[in-house]
């Protein structure tokens, strides 16, 4: 065998190197001449297109690519253009489906090569496309979560300028996302709060904690505003730097309305409990009136007795009327919600009057030693009355065999502590921390809603006070209400 001449050997060596290089590229590479015949092809292309060298090399492109791809991409025309202009075409998308394999997505470039050839470089981006679609899907999902929320969700840059503003924000404020974009959030806050809101944004820059507050948001219709409960949270990048603030706001009007309804319905429950005492107390004066009226129609009565009967009728009608008036006051009072100066002693006395009938029926003695004539707090007297009414009725319910209900005041520098103690069943140790939970009740089914003390809790909280319970099981319980003094 004649050895290859050195030139040929070198040429083969380069060809070999060239083939190895091409095959090593993880993209499909095709060299095409001016007649659009395939001059060279790498292994990656053959693998992806399920072809071999024999049915690819020297063949026209129209045989190598399925007709449908040629038609959709117009790749032949593009190649001719590159031959004519000598300018490359970069990154075009192509969906390629070789027989028997799933669809793949490619980005292809057509690059001119000086020796009257072009290189068709095809990069498989199926996976990247799938990932980016996944990312887009997640993004769309997140966006729709924010958009569908009934709470206000907005984001700002680090200075507090609004970047996003969801549908709920648009709906509640009447301001479109377009109108508020780029504006400082505090511009839309209640005039008295602007400074405070600017301060919150300032704090967000160096804080890791969210900030909760309540203030009015201005609405599109002039001078309108709605009370919102807000949570400000710093938005961090991957390096823990604050890059903005997320603000979530909930319309409190709805919650306030529900609270009001709940308090009102609980009040009706309390009225039901008092019904027995009320019946007894109203029927007594009615019976006296009835008898006195009948005496009046008797023939031979003295003028003196006539006057006595009239007097009895008068005073007893007033007695019955006073009981009814107290009830009305109690049933209606929660409609006013403005905090004003309230005399706690007066509230307690009025409440005791309301439950006195029920206490009497159950042979319960009420002790109210008063050291002070007036104790002033800031509050809604109807709501405070509801709290004490609940506490008293609970105490009365705990003493079916009679007992003592004592109310004691202690005033300190800035607060007043009211202790309401009964001599009833007491509260089992395990239940002491549950009694302020909604729907926790020790009453048999049908006799209590279990809302009483949870409503007391929410009312006392609204008054910036606290309510606690102490008890020795079997020896009675004490409810302790603390309120700030005015």
């Amino acid at each position: 065998m004649i050895p290859d001449n050195p030139f040929k050997k070198t040429k083969n060596h380069f060809e070999l190197l060239y083939d190895m290089l091409l095959d090593a590229i993880p993209s499909s590479v095709l060299m095409v001449d001016e007649k659009l015949h395939v001059v060279s092809v790498n292994r990656n292309f053959l693998l992806k297109s399920q072809r071999n060298k024999a049915n690819t090399l020297g063949r026209p492109l129209s045989e190598v690519f399925p007709t449908i791809i040629l038609e959709n991409t117009g790749i032949e025309e593009r190649i001719r253009n590159v031959f004519r202009s000598g300018l490359p075409i970069n990154a075009q998308k192509m969906t390629y489906r070789a027989p028997g394999v799933p669809i793949r997505i490619y980005y292809y470039s057509i690059l001119p090569i000086p020796i009257n050839q072009i290189m068709l470089l095809m990069e498989d981006v199926t996976e990247q496309v799938r990932l980016s679609e996944e990312v887009r899907r997640v993004e769309r999902h997140l966006a729709s979560v924010v958009e569908s929320a009934s709470d206000i969700v907005l984001s700002t840059d680090i200075e507090g300028r609004i970047l996003t503003w969801n549908s709920a924000a648009e709906k509640l404020s009447g301001l479109s996302s377009h109108e508020v974009h780029g504006q400082y959030f505090y511009e839309f806050c209640d005039i008295n709060q602007k400074q405070a809101v600017r301060f919150i944004f300032k704090r967000m820059k160096n804080s890791n904690e969210s900030h909760t507050t309540e203030f009015h948001l201005l609405t599109a219709n002039n001078c309108g505003s709605i009370l919102i409960s807000w949570v400000f949270s710093p938005m961090k990048d991957d390096y823990g730097q604050t890059v903005g603030t997320v603000v979530v706001g909930r319309d409190l009007a709805e919650r306030r309305k529900l609270e009001l309804q709940l308090r009102q319905s609980q009040k009706l429950t309390a009225l039901g409990v008092m019904a027995g005492g009320i019946a007894h107390e109203i029927r007594n004066p009615l019976a006296v009136c009835s008898s006195a009226a009948q005496f009046l129609v008797e023939n031979n009565i003295t003028a003196e007795f006539h006057r006595e009967c009239s007097r009895k009728i008068q005073t007893n009608i007033q007695k019955a009327s006073a009981i009814i008036e107290n009830l009305l006051r109690f049933a209606r009072s929660s409609l006013d919600t403005e905090m004003v100066e309230v005399d706690l002693v007066h509230v307690l006395k009025e409440t005791i009057e309301l439950i006195a009938n029920q206490a009497k029926v159950q042979k319960i003695q009420i002790l109210l030693p008063l050291q002070k004539e007036h104790i002033l707090v800031s509050g809604v007297s109807g709501l405070l009355q509801q709290v004490f009414m609940n506490v008293f009725l609970n105490a009365i319910n705990a003493m079916p065999e009679g007992g003592q209900l004592s109310i004691a005041f202690h005033t300190f520098e800035d607060r007043v502590v009211v202790r309401v103690s009964d001599t009833g069943f007491g509260i089992p140790p395990g239940e002491l921390d549950k009694i302020f939970d909604p729907f926790h009740t020790s009453s048999p089914v049908g006799q209590g809603t279990g809302l009483g003390l949870s409503i007391c809790y929410s009312i006392i909280q609204q008054h910036l006070g606290s309510i606690q319970a102490e008890s020795r099981y079997g020896e009675g319980a004490t409810i302790i209400v603390t309120l700030p003094l005015l």
Binding site: A279, L286, S291
Partner: protein, 143 residues
């Protein structure tokens, strides 16, 4: 030992024996009204304003009848009736007078069956209704 047989009714007849009638109610106006109705029939009345007071008077005096309020500050009217039925040998007729119970109240019916009360009068009542519990027909009362 066998007890001596009693007359057909274990209760005294108020008209036959000229004993006073006890009125028990913590509401003075209520006592005023009931007293007046009864006194109009020429009967003698004594009042008690609490359960303890009533029990004391029942054990220390003889009464033909008792008008008893169901809810007294210190004890239930029915409790007074129950004690009376034990303490007092010659049981007076007890009428429960109440704005707290109603006429077919199970508590009331039970007390009647038990025999600790003989009648129930709901507040407010007409004067005629009260007279009827005295054992008078209203016609006699008018006369």
């Amino acid at each position: 030992m066998v007890k001596a047989p009693r007359s057909s009714s274990p209760y005294r007849s108020c008209k036959a024996m000229n004993l006073p009638i006890l009125i028990v109610d913590d509401e003075p106006d209520m006592c005023w009204a009931i007293s007046h109705i009864i006194e109009s029939q020429g009967l003698h009345v004594i009042t008690a304003y609490s359960g303890e007071d009533a029990c004391f008077k029942l054990t220390h005096g003889e009464f033909s009848m008792v008008f008893l309020d169901a809810k007294l500050p210190d004890m239930d009217g029915l409790e007074v009736a129950r004690r009376a039925s034990v303490l007092v040998q010659e049981k007076p007729r007890v009428v429960l007078v109440s704005g707290y119970h109603y006429y077919d109240d199970p508590v009331v019916r039970h007390a009647m069956v038990e025999g600790i009360i003989c009648d129930f009068l709901a507040k407010p009542f007409t004067n005629k209704q009260l007279l009827r519990t005295l054992g008078y027909s209203t016609d006699i009362a008018k006369a």
